[in-house]
Amino acid sequence: MNRRAGLDRIVVVGGGITGLCAAIAFRRALPRTAVSLIAPPADPAALADRLPAVDQRGLALLARIGIGEEALVAAGAATHRVGQTFAWGDAAFTIGEGDGVAMLAGTALHQLWHAHGDGAFDDVVPGAALAKAERFVHPDDRPDSLLSHVDYALRLDPDRASSWLRHTAERAGIVVSPAARVSPEWRDGRCAALVVDGTRVEADLFIDASGPRALLASDRTAWIDWSATLPIDRLLLGTVPSAPSPCDRYDATDDGWTARWPLLDRTLVGTAFAADAASDARAKRLAPARTERIDIRPRRQVAPFAGNVLALGDAAAAVGPLGWLGLPLALAQLDIALHLMPARGDGPLLASEYNRRATLAADHIHAYAAAFYLAKPLRRGAFWRSMRDRTAPPELASALVQFGRRGSLPPIEEAMVPRGLWQQTLIGLGVRPQIADPVAGSVSAVSAVAALSQLRRAVAALPATLPRYPDYLAGMMKAVA
């Protein structure tokens, strides 16, 4: 007999992508457990569900619970993102997903580039070159191939992906029921039951994926406010018709930024600003004619696993729209929960270990997102000027200090953003090390310059050998169908 008896009944609250993924994951992991999903009206500010990306860790998790990339692509519910362009200051820069070419001539590429390189850093990042040329193919694993240094994320189409996931959930035996009102009954630090449209529902574990409203939070739920470090609190979201592209684009404005996020048959267009620096009317000048206004409140729960309630997605941490970081964080936290797998009669040790790891991941994502505002604020506009005297979160402050000194980043537990992506971002934002790396300095200038120019030429030549992304995507959809 296993002393760690599995849970009998799990109830997930939230019908968005986060809730559906959580329900499917627990259902697959514990086939003898009854899993049901209660879908209250969607929270418009649930950005993990509305601007959903899946990074490599998330893809691995989804594959493990039977949700394959091919199926999502075939359903028209996913496109690939190989890089993101930021017109953020004097010169635009592009970051490629993943770590890129980490080492060259026996030393870290970015250090070698800093010591001996010329030109832009993104010229030696294969993923960035693909993004700029709007090309993409899947990476390969031949060590001599530049495509082995390319990575990607999936962008999900929020509507198509959630309806596809809903079918998948129902096929897996998960009962999905809409509800008008959901409220928790807290007793002695545990949720005794949910009252769903007047009916009491009990469970061993409740998952709160209801978005930033956090319907299952109690009056004792404590929050950490992120509004000083993630200053965007308004997003105007609209749609324009377009062809698919593997590159997202962000343009800094005086009041914040605008973004273009291409999906299969349309592009989501976002205008992000801070309400205290710009009026809605002023922000609207940069937005399409019809937009929806979303109010954002960046924050996270101090302890997202409390008693028998596990908060996921925006209910646990709201990281804002930039980079579509909400769903990667939600999936990483789901991954940790599955790994630790709560059981009946667990003591506080397991919850505290979950909270330790899950909040490390949240704080890391928060630090990465905050870098775009605080690392090197622009010189124009009241929004950006007000960033200058703000204090960076500790994880970002130490990254800026360490990277600003000698271009290295401190080791991080529960890292959410690949080291290479951090480096590309900080370099793109204009952070430069003061001290040359001694190991890069010990490579002779002649061989360093030769290695760098060879890499730059190879990276530049790569996109032309690849198909256009719309053709590649259409081929993939057809092949799977």
């Binding site: 296993n2 760690r4 008896a5 360490q402 000698r406 001290i435």
Partner: protein
């Protein structure tokens, strides 16, 4: 203060730490201007810590361009697949801490969770049977790991036993070939500048050696970091009471065993490290619980061959300096701290100190940015290894001597207490960032020491039991068959 690059690195003390630092600095920090100087005195002996190592040493050698065959020849080295612990749990038991992994994870579940569920069943056997390194060690066999994930050899890992003084000599040749300069002399004085940094050291023949960065490899004396800079010592002997060792070599025995053996005694433990030309033996003990002569008698009574040299006595104290880098002085090896060689971590701590120093290499301003980060990372390393070593003592069931009663009942560091509790309750392993020993190591020692969890991950019940039983049978058989095909050591 100028942000000029460091032009001169002075390493105080040769020995394993000094020559590891010198060889790495000469290889990786040479920008054509920087000088690397080692001050060493033939009059001062070296302790020669750590004749056994853990797998990261292979990466260190590879980065220095040291060929494995040359290295084994030059140092009398042999392969090491892990450590056999004898008598640590109840006095009569044995278990093996293998390098590498146990079995294969299935569907994202750690292997030991599967084993925990099935362990009583027929044909499952002890968890050691699933570690290729343990099975090979038991048969006295060795082969290199395979990159093919389907091969049982993909789960094998290894390190070396070697003669530390011969290793230092090999590294010295490498360092000197790459331009490091050795100066013979004894240090009689230290000059400090207005900032309190070490400006120069004076030798017994009145020579003055100036430098920008000083690496203190002076051993237990901690001449620069401890004596000169006044950095205090964090005493951990209340957790690790062993404070003495007696070492003695014996003639090589046949067959050569590809692992270290650690045998628990009444107030400490004895190492057995097989080299090509001799076997290293030593008794590590707590002087509060046994006197030196009795300790020597115990050692001599437990040798498996005739002694080939005189016993040598050492004293030490477990702990580490509160800061490993102060001003312009970085301490490596015994000058920075000491943890008993139970898990062969001494040389690794030197290696970690070198690689973190190069990663955080300062300029002549010596700001706190590098220093604080280095100190944080290195203190974490020491504390994590400390906890892993304490586990071996704390998890004992022995109550036959005052020493074992003391270590069995002493209060533990919080970090370790939580780890043991979570494993006992859930079979879970906390693993913190940058921790040296990975999950299989903690599992091997926890289970080996008799900490068996109450239950297992409920997700295991979702997997088809016949299927996982079949998979375990297959893994166990594949390891056994592979061991038969592997060549014997030596």
């Amino acid at each position: 203060m100028s942000g000029e690059p460091i032009e001169s690195v002075v390493i105080v003390g040769g020995g394993t730490a000094g020559w590891m630092a010198a060889a790495a600095a000469a290889r990786f920090l040479d920008d054509g201007r920087r000088t690397i100087t080692v001050i060493e005195s033939e009059a001062i002996g070296t302790v020669g810590v750590g004749e056994a190592t853990i797998p990261p040493i292979r990466g260190f050698n590879a980065r220095l361009g040291i060929d494995e065959a040359d290295f084994l020849r030059a140092t009398g080295g042999t392969p090491k697949l892990g450590i056999e612990f004898v008598g640590w749990t109840d006095g009569k038991d044995r278990y093996f801490h293998p390098f590498g992994t146990h079995g294969r994870d299935i569907e994202g579940l750690n292997f030991h969770q599967l084993w925990l569920k099935l362990r009583g069943r027929e044909g499952i056997g002890p968890i050691d049977d699933y570690a290729m390194s343990a099975v090979a060690a038991r048969h006295g066999r060795f082969a290199h790991p395979s990159p093919d994930p389907r091969s049982p050899l993909s789960g094998l890992e290894y390190a070396y036993h070697f003669d530390a003084s011969l290793y230092a000599a090999l590294l010295r040749r490498h360092a000197e070939t790459q331009g490091a300069v050795r100066i013979e002399g004894r240090i009689v004085g230290v000059e400090r500048d207005a900032r309190g940094h070490v400006a120069a050291v004076r030798l017994d023949d009145d020579r003055r050696i100036a430098g920008d960065l000083f690496i203190d490899c002076s051993g237990f004396r901690s001449l620069l970091l401890g004596e000169t800079m006044g950095v205090g010592f964090d005493d951990w002997s209340h957790w690790l009471p062993c404070d003495r060792a007696i070492a003695v070599p014996t003639a090589r025995t046949e067959p050569l065993l590809p692992y270290t053996r650690s045998t628990a005694h009444r107030a400490g433990w004895q190492w057995r490290i097989p080299l090509q030309h001799r076997t290293g033996n030593g008794h590590v003990y707590a002087s509060a619980f046994v006197d030196d002569d009795e300790a020597e008698r115990v050692l001599m009574a437990h040798l498996d061959a005739a002694p080939s040299g005189e016993p040598r006595r050492l004293s030490f104290k477990a702990g580490c300096r509160t800061r490993l880098w102060e001003g312009n002085v970085v301490a490596l090896g015994l000058a920075g701290g000491f943890l008993e060689p139970l898990e062969s971590t001494s040389i690794h701590l030197i290696q970690a100190g070198i690689s973190k120093l190069f990663g955080l290499f300062p300029d002549r301003r010596f700001t706190d940015v590098e220093r604080d980060e280095y100190n944080r990372l290195m203190r974490d390393q020491y504390a994590a290894i400390r906890d892993f070593i304490i586990l071996h003592y704390a998890a004992t069931r022995r109550d036959d001597t005052p020493f074992w009663n003391h270590v069995r009942t002493m209060p533990l560091p919080d970090t370790l207490r939580r780890k043991i509790a979570l494993f006992r309750e859930k079979g879970r392993i906390f693993r913190y960032d940058d921790e040296l020993f990975a999950i299989p190591s903690w599992v091997a020692v926890m289970l080996g020491q008799g900490i068996v969890p109450d239950g297992y991950d409920p997700v295991v019940d979702a997997l088809d039991e016949d299927r996982i039983t079949g998979a375990l049978h297959q893994m166990r058989a594949a390891n056994a068959a592979m061991a038969q095909q592997m060549p014997r050591v030596g």
